[in-house]
């Protein structure tokens, strides 16, 4: 399951038609997660499915992957870091752990041009952290299952 398939139809359908749509749908699920079904975990699973699909068609023995396992490991750590930071920053401000109301994100309202409460922004930051962590870990799992035990 790790060799490249030289079918132009398979490559076109998966890499041009399917995978970009899956990525856009995953980001849609992420940013609409507070109001409708969805959220960081589901969006991460969807984006990971898209990345695994791209990896299944391109294979791993020909050339370098666009996003290597090492980068994904950093991304997974960054996802956990975002979550922990969203909890630690209110703690430093003198309120409870993960008390989003104390997050210093008011400047974002001016940038985005519409009003959101600090609490909504805090939930969104945590969901972004979960999203990055989940999709990186799922793709790392796939990478480690399909590698041919070559120590790097």
């Amino acid at each position: 399951m790790t060799e490249q398939h030289d079918s132009i139809i398979l490559n076109f359908v998966v890499r041009v038609l399917l995978v970009p749509f899956i990525f856009v749908f995953g980001v849609y699920v992420l940013v609409h997660g507070e109001a409708s079904p969805g959220g960081g975990f589901q969006a991460g699973a969807i984006v990971a499915a898209g990345l695994v699909l791209a990896r299944l068609t391109t294979g791993s023995e020909h050339g370098e992957r666009r996003i290597s396992t090492r980068v994904l490991l950093w991304l997974a750590s960054a996802g956990i870091g975002i979550y922990v930071l969203a909890g630690i920053v209110p703690l430093l401000a003198g309120v409870n752990f993960l008390d989003y109301a104390a997050l210093p994100v008011e400047w974002f309202n001016a940038v985005a041009g519409h009003e959101r409460t600090n609490r909504a922004m805090g939930i969104f930051i945590v969901e972004v952290g979960i999203f990055i962590g989940v999709f990186s870990v799922l793709v790392i799992l796939y990478d480690h299952l399909t590698e041919r035990f070559t120590d790097d």
Partner: protein
């Protein structure tokens, strides 16, 4: 909602679970397990738990199938017990 449809989905859920347990070819068992996950997702969506159904469809029917097949490619394809 429509109880006949729900009953049919539940029947398919049980049948696919039993088939996944009985099959000796592990890749076919993974396919049966994906069917099981999809039926579970449809049932959860009918019961109103759209969030759980979403997760079940994305993870159960999508990612775990690929991960299971990746694991089977590292060992024997047929079950021996």
């Amino acid at each position: 909602m429509v109880w006949e449809l729900e009953l049919a989905l539940f029947g398919l859920l049980v049948v696919s679970a039993i088939v996944a347990l009985q099959l000796r070819d592990l890749i076919a068992a993974v396919a049966a397990l994906s069917v099981y996950s999809f039926m579970a997702a449809a049932l959860l969506a009918m019961m109103g738990a759209v969030d759980v159904a979403f997760t079940e469809a994305a993870l159960g029917a999508g990612i775990t199938g690929v991960l299971f097949i990746g694991a089977i490619s590292l060992m024997h394809r047929r079950s021996v017990d």
